[in-house]
């Protein structure tokens, strides 16, 4: 047993190799009880691998991890009663009715018979599926399916919930509803461990880990990350055409880093006010039409780009 009851998940030097490929490389972190803990990174960064190790579905190559005080290597069967898990791919039974899926998972989690109807009713209400209990699960829109999957995963009121990209492929309104559910659970003391590659969703997390190519590149609250991890200030540059504009921006005076964000460019500079003028002049000299240069607050995406592109040159010791 882990003596420290403050943490619901602890991870220490955890490594997972598939053959010669290292999916997760000596990562370490802790999650506190009742917090929404975000695991942020691009596809293939090692998010799903980490979550699967924590759920006891994969055996780590080395390192140590505990969930609800239980060791993932030796006590994975006991862990399963303490967790709820939603895998990346929708994985309820499409050929069962809504109510049948709920009763099935209620049975597997051994929810007490007298309590099951109440829990099923709660899950139906939470997923907004009142009146559609008899609908075939496969016929539901994606957003509702994901809420039903969450309902199935937490029927037994687990203290820790792992959600692997729960909102991928879900429309914006359903995404917001889903995050409201996550926060409601956290308020009731549940630790919610959630992975996402949507940078905007990361802002909803209490604490975050940024992961890239199997390594943790930063950790902290969204605000901390934005303040600490960005060296310098951020300029938004709108110009035409974009490709040559990026080239010119990288060579412009005072620019430490530049990247494409949507249909504009972001540049990292030491002094935003001083650099704006020379940048505009430099771009226009290279026949790039500049329509706007202004300072903006950094988003987590900027932080992420800054941390992953400068890795190797800068020490990634931004850990909180």
């Amino acid at each position: 047993m882990n003596g420290n009851h403050e943490f619901s998940v602890t991870v220490e030097k955890l490594t997972k190799k598939f053959g010669s490929f290292t999916a997760v490389n000596e990562i370490g972190f802790e999650t506190r009880k009742g917090e929404v803990f975000g695991f942020l990174g691009p596809n293939g960064a090692g998010k799903s691998t980490t979550i699967r190790i924590l759920c006891g579905l994969l055996i780590p190559t080395s390192g140590k991890a505990t969930v609800a005080g239980l060791d993932v290597g030796t006590q994975s069967e006991r862990i399963r009663q303490q967790i709820g898990y939603m895998s990346q791919k929708f994985s309820l039974y499409n050929d069962l009715r809504v109510i049948e899926n709920l009763r099935f998972f209620g049975g597997l989690y051994s929810v007490a018979a007298e309590e099951l109807p109440k829990r099923v009713e709660w899950a139906v209400h939470m997923a907004g599926l009142e009146g559609r209990e008899e609908a075939m699960t496969g016929s539901l829109p994606v957003g509702w399916k994901q809420r039903l999957a969450l309902g199935c995963a937490v029927l037994h009121k687990p203290p820790v919930v792992f959600l692997d990209e729960p909102t991928s492929g879900v429309d914006p309104v359903s995404r917001r509803q889903f995050w409201e559910l996550i926060h409601q659970m956290a308020k009731e003391g549940v630790t919610v461990f959630v992975t996402t590659h949507y940078m905007d969703e990361a802002e909803y997390c209490n604490r975050l880990v940024l992961i890239d190519r199997g390594r943790i590149v930063a950790m902290g609250t969204p605000t901390e990350l934005k303040q600490k991890s960005m060296k310098g200030q951020l300029l938004l540059v709108e110009c035409e055409p974009l490709g040559p504009g990026l080239e010119a921006l990288r060579q412009a005076p005072g620019v430490e880093d530049a990247a494409v964000f949507g249909r504009a460019l972001h540049a990292v500079v030491a002094d935003a006010a001083g650099a704006a003028g020379p940048i505009r002049a430099s771009l226009e000299a290279k026949k790039v039409a500049v329509s706007k240069v202004e300072q903006i607050p950094p988003t987590l995406e900027d932080v992420f780009v800054a941390l992953t592109t400068t890795r190797g040159t800068r020490n990634p010791e931004a850990r909180a």
Partner: protein
């Protein structure tokens, strides 16, 4: 072990089977199709062989002999040839499988030279049927020859020449020598093997393919609970299929049932556990529905069809192949079924087959249990 979780899995499997047209077809249609195909179409009895006769003698004696051919159900006289060319033509075209040619001086030689012969021409492209037809022909001619001798002796007031030795056959168990009676028990085994292994081969691989397995193994359900919960529905279905096939065999094909129902269901239960576990094991190993179901069919249908003794008698096989049949649960099951249906043999007489089946069931259950891990790799 939690009964609650096993029941949850069982209920889910039944619901999914009920809603899957493919599973329903395998459960309800396949056994009937197999039974009808093998019951009606596969007929190993050689009867009504098309016969061409060419009577070059044209006497009362030659006509008497040909009448003997007409009188039996084994031959149908479909053509009376007027010359030798017609005989050759009928055999060539396959219209007749056998031709009987009676020589010119048949009657005269029979009565005066003290003996003669008739010619039989056979299409031996199907050697088995040709052999049997030749046997019938020899028997008919021998009977006729015997009659002629008796008449000859009687006309001279001599005592009839007694046969020194003859065979009085009594065929047991299948009194009419109907091949149907031996085939139907084999069909029951074939249906069990195919339905059992095919259905279960889909059950685990389907969950991997659809991604539901990852959710399933993240719950506290144990591997053995999944296995038991998934196999019990198919076991019950298999037992019902056995009963339906056995009843259809008795009712439709008039196959005798002389043994005990307990012996039938007991041995069927053991055989089912073996083939269900085989399918389940393949499902676990293959992880894809297509691969698993193909493996299950190859591992059950072909060996049961060729090597179980269902159609081809095992003691006629080369010794090496006979050895291979010992590795097949179906071989023991077919032996038991024939005993139960046709002979009504007491259980202790096929105890060794029951022991062999139990061992296979145990080995395959163990393999299936060990193969399934609640892990993603």
């Amino acid at each position: 072990m939690s009964l609650r979780r096993i029941l949850a899995i069982m209920r889910k499997e039944f619901t999914q089977i009920r809603r899957d047209p493919r599973s329903l077809a395998i459960i309800f249609v396949l056994p009937l199709v197999l039974l009808l195909i093998y019951g009606y179409a596969v007929n190993l009895d050689v009867k009504h062989v098309p016969l061409c006769v060419f009577d070059r003698d044209g006497t009362q004696d030659s006509q008497d002999l040909l009448k003997a051919f007409q009188a039996t159900e084994y031959f149908d006289v479909v053509h009376v040839a007027r010359n030798y060319r017609e005989v050759v033509e009928k055999i060539d075209t396959g219209e007749c499988e056998i031709a009987v040619v009676i020589p010119h001086d048949f009657s005269q030689d029979l009565r005066e030279a003290g003996g003669t012969s008739v010619q039989a021409i056979l299409d031996a492209s199907d050697s088995n049927s040709a052999n049997i037809a030749l046997g019938y022909t020899q028997a008919i001619v021998a009977a006729y020859s015997n009659r002629v001798q008796v008449e000859w002796a009687q006309r001279r007031g001599l005592p009839a020449p007694a046969s020194v030795l003859d065979v009085r056959p009594r065929t047991w168990f299948n009194e009419d020598l109907e091949s149907m009676a031996t085939i139907v028990p084999g069909v029951v085994a074939l249906v069990m093997a195919v339905v059992g292994a095919f259905l279960t081969s889909l059950t685990i691989s389907r969950e991997w393919e659809r991604g539901t397995m990852e959710q399933l193994i993240s719950t506290p359900v144990k591997a053995l609970e999944i296995q038991i919960g998934k196999l019990i529905p198919y076991f019950l279905i298999g037992m019902v299929d056995t009963a339906v096939c056995a009843a259809a065999g008795v009712a439709l094909f008039r196959v005798p049932f002389r043994g005990s129902w307990a012996a039938l269901f007991g041995s069927s239960a053991l055989f089912l556990v073996a083939v269900l576990s085989l399918g389940y094991w393949m499902s676990v190993v293959a992880k894809s529905q297509l691969a698993a179901s193909q493996m299950a069919l190859v591992a059950t249908f072909l060996p049961t069809f060729l090597l179980s003794g269902f159609l081809f008698p095992i003691d006629q096989m080369p010794v090496v192949v006979q050895g291979i049949t010992r590795a097949l649960p179906a071989r023991y099951y077919v032996t038991i079924l024939r005993d139960v249906f046709l002979k009504g043999t007491p259980v202790r007489m096929f105890a060794s087959e029951l022991v062999a089946l139990s061992m296979y069931a145990l080995v395959l259950v163990t393999l299936a249990t060990r193969a399934f891990q609640k892990r993603l790799e």
